[in-house]
């Protein structure tokens, strides 16, 4: 079996892992979505260093984009056989009653070949560090990290990697690099600093509506919300709302601007200390993820080889951005219509 490629520039908090395993690609790692077995295979085949999967009801996605335990085991085996790794997303917040089940599931996935976890709850982070000392723990975007003191807190709490806010520039990445030796991960997105913070500081969706998983998952004994694994976030912030002061004419508005795929920042981000780039999109078509992984694999390899300018990819990036936005628009309308149709 080919040794796994490793994300890490750091050893796990509780273990003395080697820095860069034999056979690993140099440079920053590409973390790609696997919303299905087919997507897992496509992402690995196109060169993802790490794929991430969500167990049914535990990862903030509709069930169509999550996987059964059997499928996760199969995806882990496929990844390992080709030198890649698999992370399991456990980034919903447990209910207090359900806490032990999260730990039990993590132990099972670790035994099945998962090399790490993406988590949100600080208590779960500590429990997994204790129970699975040599695993790699990523702090999910759902934790709402906003500054370098957060990074230091999570390093103390046992995390290996934090995901940085979309909005951060090179200077901020360099600042957090100086403040903590925690691994740094960024989404392959760029955005402007306006609008509502999401996720991590938002419960708008569940205030309006939510539906539990019970009919799909059997007998989970919790009550929902997207943050806790109910069927979905309705993307309230991306729908149109009427907004205005009392007594004035309202304007039609979205609550935040969409992020868009990024590229030009990659060389500077790597130089500043980013060790992992995350592509989101477990709910996207497999063909789109295949093309995106291939695209970013090339770009990251070029950066590792010393490229400082990725301008020659501009046309291809523009095309991918159009595909990304077109697909997303369809999904937002569907989600809000679905929410409106539910009985609260």
């Amino acid at each position: 079996m080919v040794p796994p490629r490793s994300l890490r520039s750091l050893p796990p908090k509780g273990a003395q892992a080697s820095l860069g395993r034999p056979g690993a690609r140099p440079g920053a790692k590409l973390l790609a979505p696997a919303g299905s077995l087919e997507m897992a295979h496509a992402a690995v085949d196109e060169g993802a260093d790490i794929i991430y999967v969500g167990p049914l009801g535990f990862s903030r996605r509709p069930y169509e984009s999550e996987m059964s335990d059997d499928a996760i085991r199969e995806a882990a085996a496929y990844a390992r056989s080709r030198g890649a790794e698999l992370r399991v997303v456990l980034n919903t917040f447990p209910t207090p009653y359900d806490f032990g089940r999260f730990v039990d599931k993590a132990l099972r996935y670790a035994a099945d070949g998962a090399s790490g976890f993406i988590v949100t709850d600080v208590g779960l982070l500590r429990a997994l560090r204790r129970e699975i000392p040599d695993t790699v723990l990523h702090v999910s975007i759902g934790s709402g990290i906003s500054n370098l003191a957060d990074a230091a807190f999570y390093r103390d709490a046992g995390a290996d990697v934090i995901i940085l806010p979309y909005r951060w520039d090179v200077a901020e990445i360099e600042a957090v690099r100086r403040a903590s030796d925690i691994g740094l991960e960024t989404f392959l997105f760029e955005t402007v600093q306006t609008g509502k913070l999401c996720p991590g500081k938002c419960i708008m969706s569940s205030y309006l509506r939510f539906r539990d998983w019970k009919e799909v998952e059997g007998n989970r004994d919790f009550h929902g919300s997207a943050n806790r694994g109910a069927k979905e976030c309705y993307r309230v912030c991306q729908a149109n709302w009427e907004f205005g002061a009392v007594g004035s004419d309202p304007v039609e508005i979205k609550l935040r601007r969409d992020a868009r795929l990024m590229l030009a920042q990659l060389p500077a981000f790597v130089a500043a200390g980013v060790s992992c780039f995350k592509l989101s999109g477990r709910e996207r078509p497999v063909g789109m993820i295949r093309d995106l992984v291939r695209f970013y694999r090339r770009a990251i390899d070029e950066v590792a080889a010393g490229a400082a300018d990725l301008g020659h990819h501009t046309a291809e990036l523009a095309e991918l951005r159009v595909r990304w936005v077109r697909e997303k628009a369809k999904r937002v309308d569907t989600l809000m219509d679905r929410a409106a149709s539910y009985v609260s």
Partner: protein, 314 residues
């Protein structure tokens, strides 16, 4: 017996309002450092606010800014340094990095975790206790039974909001300013704020033909609140019976007089409940509370459902 608290943003509101129904006051607006003379961002006003509250026999808790970016850490640190030299009864944080800063600076005062601290489990509460946290505000999505579970299994105080609009989402920038004419010319926090948040702003999504749900949210600029007012006045007996003791009324964004009217009603209802007296007729209290709530009343998530429903005592 129990503690009833609310929040006040600045010295002017503190001096002009009637907060006599409350045992404790959270000083400051954690959502917006630009809010006029906000205790959370004006270290020079802390001593006066604290003195005013203590002079009335109430406890004073200082709220720190909830979502500091890297550029905010220096001034937040200055506020902390001033606060630690004063006899605040507790300091409230929402951000775990700021919690770490408090400990680094030798904070010995009790620390409260605020609503945006993402507290969902007793295990997280235990981690935070190790950092000096003595009271947590569980995420509003939790049911009353879950809140009690956390209190018992982490052996920690829990703050239980009983009335007011539920904080749903917070921003690092001002939504009102961004969508105003001034916002197009200057970024929030760069001297361009004209405090348009003094006018009520609402987000609505609804159609008279019934093709969409009729939804409303209140927006205070950097924070969006539930359209409806959480209301637990009919459930005091249940709260007392569950062993919960620390209750809170959300005042942010409300008109002068709101905290006084609501506080009087809850002071009476909770005293009766904790004394084991018959609850009496809730209709007059509900009429008053409904008259203060433009979009009506709800129970939030306390009874295990989405946040907008209202369930009466029966």
């Amino acid at each position: 017996m129990f503690e009833l608290s609310t929040d006040v943003g600045n010295l002017k509101e503190l001096r002009e309002g009637d907060f006599s129904a409350y045992d404790a006051i959270y000083l400051g607006d954690f959502s917006c450092p630009e809010y006029p003379n906000n205790f959370s961002s004006h270290a020079e006003l802390l001593a006066a606010g604290l003195e005013h509250v203590h002079a009335r026999g109430q406890k004073a808790y200082l709220r720190l800014y909830a979502v500091p970016g890297n550029d905010d850490l220096a001034w937040v640190g200055d506020v902390i340094d001033t606060a630690l030299a004063l006899p605040f009864d507790a300091i409230e944080v929402h951000n775990l990095g700021v919690l770490r800063m408090l400990r680094e600076r030798g904070c010995t005062a009790p620390i409260h975790l605020g609503v945006f601290g993402n507290l969902y489990t007793h295990e997280t509460a235990k981690v935070l206790k190790d950092h000096g946290v003595t009271r947590v505000y569980p995420n509003p999505e939790l049911s009353l039974d879950e809140v009690r579970y956390i209190a018992e299994h982490a052996d920690i105080e829990v703050l239980v909001p009983v009335h007011g609009k539920i904080p749903l989402v917070i921003s690092e920038t001002c939504f009102i300013l961004e969508h105003s004419e001034e916002g197009a010319e200057g970024a929030c926090g760069e001297g361009s704020c004209s405090y348009q948040c003094t006018q009520e702003h609402w987000l609505k999504r609804g159609r008279d033909d019934g093709s969409r749900a009729d939804w409303s949210l209140k927006d205070t600029g950097r924070m969006t609140l539930s359209g409806k007012d959480l209301c637990m006045v009919e459930h005091g007996e249940r709260l007392a019976g569950m062993g919960l003791k620390h209750f809170y009324v959300h005042n942010k964004g409300e008109a002068p007089g709101y905290a006084a009217a609501v506080g009087r009603i809850y002071r009476d209802a909770l005293e009766r409940a904790f004394a084991g007296e018959a609850a009496g007729d809730f209709a007059p209290a509900l009429d008053t509370l409904a008259s203060l709530a433009r979009e009506g009343l709800c129970n939030g998530y306390y009874f295990e459902g989405a946040g907008q429903r209202y369930i009466g005592r029966s």
